[in-house]
Symmetry: C2
Subunit: 644 residues, 2 copies
């Protein structure tokens, strides 16, 4: 299966009214902010210890390892974000800073290639002996992704060489000829090894990635055997009575039919499965990917593109179980779902996968970061009541306010690398074609055979549905332009050079324009009025409720616009929705107005809990703002699914 | 404050159509069943180790302590249940069995009076050094309650003497002159010491109970100091970063205004506060009791009389936070609320406290036990979907099926002792008066001054609202009969010897008949038709929903009667409710029928999660059964609050 390629970030420039506020944050705020955190230069923030651990491992400093066992991955994801940022926004100072960090990583590497500060400093004799909890391979995977990205952005191969040395050691230790030696407790290295193979061409890395997938879930379960070994000590109390489902090791991956266990582990693994399936033309593995993607997106995913219904263990639960106020819906899991879906689209050329990419990016990825780039949500609920987000209760994981940092700081640098690599989602290409996936204003250069095509996209999406594409190339040349028609769009039209196309060809959700191009203007217009969406009535939590959307954006009610006690509000789904652009609100946004009613407390006194008082209603106007923007004003309640 | 007394269980005989099925279970099933469990004679049930621990502590067997640190309390509560049962149903065999257990307890007692198998076997040097987690005083309290009950039932004082010896040691160690020596991490001994004082007259026990209450919550917090002591080791990982609120030690008890922390700890403490307040005429303490009772019942209690909104740490959260499908609502906490409310009623002579006693007993106490007496709910949710009650998720504590036993088996013997002592709730008395609290068919003998009054109550409550009372006494004598008019009753009438009373005197919710009695028949009739109840709209989880009740009984929908996906059902609150008695259903019960509608899935295929499909409804009939009876037929969904 020939995968479509993403267009190199070096060849894309994004200037988009919706996205600029986030993408500009990466070089301007997030990268320097997170660098300060990794270096423990910030006050009033949980100490990271990340760079400090590397310095100790490198012998520059004395001390104990501190932080989470996977703390090194924060630096990896930061470097990956830096790499993507340098690809699009070269910055000598930042590159020097990154080179310094890479230098440090190199010094922390052990003579035999091993690289992990926790095991180097704290448990030098215990390498690879606690795959269930140790996260060595997980960290290595992130390091590999970062090294590849840095090489691609800068051409410098020092980091790549460091990671190849470690990859060689891993391939030796985890020999593809010996399944019994185990596989990662947290998947990620499979993605990293595959990327390393892509830039180095070393088949050993590819084979190792495939082997990690194929040995996973075989009987007897590796982790259940591992914990019986003498000296084994769990690092996470919550892993007692370990259920292999947690790490998707309950079944061979090819046999898995439902998305189970820890959501981030799951979607990272499925992403790797898609990579390997495409590389090996492995239809069986591809079928498993399709099944698991369907399991998520058709039974176990929030309308915001987030996943993980259980606050405990951040995991999938059962079909249609989608509670709105106690879910985990980790930002990293949404990012993983976007990564998985993007790969599926690259392989299948089916736009329905991009519908999920778009849903994820526009909602639960950017909900994870404050508009000032300095605080983050790990948990992305669809209903929040700040008063009951109390420590040491069932809602303790739900935060009504984004946090500056976190002991387990996986999400913030993951958001940074995702925003910095946004360009990779917009366009795909193969030798004859350009795919337009997302309607993010940008300029891109794509090679069609050996001829460069320049694509310029202009839109105000999703505020409106008008997309202008300018295609230009030095000499007239035949090519295929595939423009995604979003799944939610019911009416649309397309013209080329002013001429309306009567019966456009649509294949797998892409409108196909196959012709000679030289200098052409394509105009697409999607009907993108606000709409009301319902959940399948099997989703118990959402029966009797409706959500408001516009394009890919989910909207929500916030207390600051609608008063407190949002669950007492009803949306009139018979009356229309009105929209207007408010340039002063939340940095400029389309606001949606609706009419409805509110149960009032008129008949009740505060000391009556239950009584025979039939509800009394009053008419109210409802104000909806985009879900990803919630929590950027006053602290208060938030609600996506509104009674109707 | 002179407290009304409960009538001795020896002087009450219950024969009631509603309660018999439960009260008869105690001697017939629960006591022998639990005895087998305590002795590890049951297969397929989590091993108790309880008696085995006593045998080891007594030197009869060799071995290690096993089970929870508070495992001894299971035997204490079992003995308390046995005592109440012997008071009403003398049984030589059972009494011999109990005498044997008491003999064993005596042998396990240490020479200085100390009694606790965990610390005796496992941590002999660590007595009273981990009050936060050790539960020594908690277990002692239950033992004291059992010893008093056994003495009152049988006249035998061996157990009482054992517990007095331990109480003396406790009074010495925890001297009332030295606050810094601490107080229990789990309240209960305050109740036990007070009962011990009541039967022995030893003021030291009373003073010790008061001192435990008064030193609680003083600064610096005892538990936060204790955990700093060298050698301190926590027994519960979830107590890391201990919040004194958990054990109501965040403030002096007299200053507390809101029900906080672990619900069982809270209501046991409030019960003791009421005891002490009455004993010392302590208005300040009584005010705290009133505030805390109001905090629970007017802001933090389920309609079923259960408490503890958070699945994690089984605790109170915030006002009006009453989620229905992930709450804890522990059976023991409801029992504690009934104990607290009963004391408040005894002190204040205010029937509104009995409203809560009745709500608790009729709903969340008996929901805790299966109709066959052999399985138990610890958690009493108001909405259950078996498919998502999955281990290692946010719903892991919610069980769709009652369990045979449990590692932490607090609830089953607590239910047993409550059912066995049901008579204590029905009548109160003082020297001139008899209070009729609950309408449970029974015969009672009460002394009015030195003359015996026989009261015979006959009712089919709550199936109907007719109560017949026969009062007879050897010689005509003036007395006061106070008959509770339940708070939910809107219309009622009363007659004596056939003569309707036009303007009955009602004081604090009791109808007062003050006259000469000799042989009289009092008839009361409450309007008790099924009714629809709403929650205060500040209870976010219940807005847009209604509940069906009849008398004190909350009703619910079960899947077996109404099909699956109960949250898709709507109750038509404009149309009437119909009721009928079904003698074959659930051992005979009033069933309530209503009309409503159901959202159907007609427009949806299983692979659509979100779409622009406006809901489609069909008319349906709804069948409601009493909440306490749920889960006694096929495993399935259950729902109390129904959409309207």
């Amino acid at each position: 299966m020939k995968k479509l390629s993403s267009v190199s970030l070096k060849n894309i420039k994004i200037e988009d009214s919706f996205w600029n506020r986030y993408t500009h944050l990466v070089p301007d705020v997030i990268i320097p902010y997170q660098w300060n955190i990794l270096n423990d230069n910030m006050k009033d923030i949980e100490t990271s210890h990340c760079i400090s651990n590397f310095k100790i491992a490198a012998g520059y400093e004395k001390g104990e390892f501190q932080g989470a066992v996977f703390q090194d991955s924060d630096l990896a994801k930061w470097l990956e974000a830096v790499a993507y940022s340098l690809a699009t926004h070269p910055d000598k100072g930042l590159e020097d800073m990154a080179d310094g960090a890479i230098e440090l990583i190199g010094k922390a590497q052990q003579p035999d290639g091993y690289l992990n500060t926790y095991f180097t400093i704290k448990e030098p004799g215990k390498r690879f002996s606690n795959l269930r909890d140790g996260h060595e391979l997980y960290v290595a995977g992130h390091m590999m992704e970062a090294a590849v990205a840095y090489y691609q952005a800068t051409g410098k191969d020092k980091f790549l060489q460091i990671m190849c040395r470690f990859a060689d050691l891993i391939c030796e230790h985890f020999s593809v000829r010996n399944d019994s030696v185990g596989y990662p407790g947290h998947q990620e290295i499979e993605i990293g090894l595959y990327k390393l193979y892509q830039v180095t061409g070393k088949k050993a890395y590819l084979r190792q990635a495939k082997s990690f997938l194929d040995r996973r879930g075989k009987k007897p379960n590796y982790f259940l055997e591992e914990e019986k070994k003498p000296g084994f000590q769990g690092l996470f109390p919550e892993f007692e009575n370990y259920d292999p489902k947690y790490s998707q090791s309950h079944q061979p991956v090819r046999e898995q039919t439902k998305a189970e266990g820890h959501a981030v582990r799951a979607v990272y693994m499925y992403s790797a499965m898609a990579d390997i399936a495409a590389e090996y033309d492995d239809e069986e593995l591809m079928d498993a990917c399709r099944r698991l993607w369907n399991s998520i997106t058709k039974k176990r995913m929030y309308i915001t593109g987030s996943i993980g219904s259980s606050g405990i263990l951040e995991r999938f639960t059962t079909d249609y179980d989608l509670p709105n106020n106690c879910n985990y819906s980790e930002t990293c899991a949404t990012i993983g779902l976007a990564l998985f879906s993007r790969r599926m689209a690259q392989i299948t050329r089916d736009a329905s996968y991009i519908d999920i990419v778009e849903k994820s990016l526009y909602n639960s990825v950017i909900s994870g970061v404050a508009m000032n780039g300095k605080s983050f949500f790990y948990v992305n609920p669809l209903e929040v009541w700040p008063d009951n987000c109390i420590d040491r209760t069932s809602k303790e994981h739900v935060k009504p306010v984004r946090q500056k940092w976190y002991g387990c700081a996986c999400c913030p640098p993951n958001i940074a690398r995702t925003l910095a690599s946004l360009g990779e989602y917009i366009y795909f290409a193969d030798e004859q074609s350009v795919w337009i996936n997302l309607f993010i204003s940008s300029q891109a250069k794509v090679m069609i055979e050996d001829q460069e095509f320049k694509i310029s996209m202009e839109s105000n999406y999703p505020n409106d549905g008008k997309i202008q594409l300018y295609v230009s190339t030095a000499q007239k040349k035949k090519a295929k332009l595939a423009i995604r028609i979003p799944g939610y769009v019911k009416e649309w039209k397309i013209s080329i050079d002013g001429a309306h196309i009567e019966n456009p060809v649509v294949e797998n959700g892409y409108c196909i324009l196959e012709q000679e191009f030289e200098s052409n203007e394509v105009n697409v217009e999607f009907a993108i009025a606000p709409r009301i969406v319902w959940a399948n009535p099997l989703v118990k939590e959402d029966v009797g409720k409706a959500a408001v959307m516009k394009g890919p954006l989910v909207y929500c009610l916030e207390e600051t616009d609608n008063g407190s006690n949002l669950p007492a509000l009803y949306l009139d789904t018979e009356k229309g929705l009105e929209e207007y652009f408010d340039p002063d609100l939340l940095g400029g946004t389309t606001v949606i107005k609706a009419t409805g009613k509110r149960v009032v407390t008129r008949d009740w006194n505060q000391d009556e809990l239950y009584a025979e008082h039939k509800p009394v209603y009053k008419d109210v106007d409802l104000t909806f703002v985009p879900y990803p923007y919630w929590g950027n004003r006053d602290t208060g309640e938030m609600l996506v699914w509104v009674k109707e």
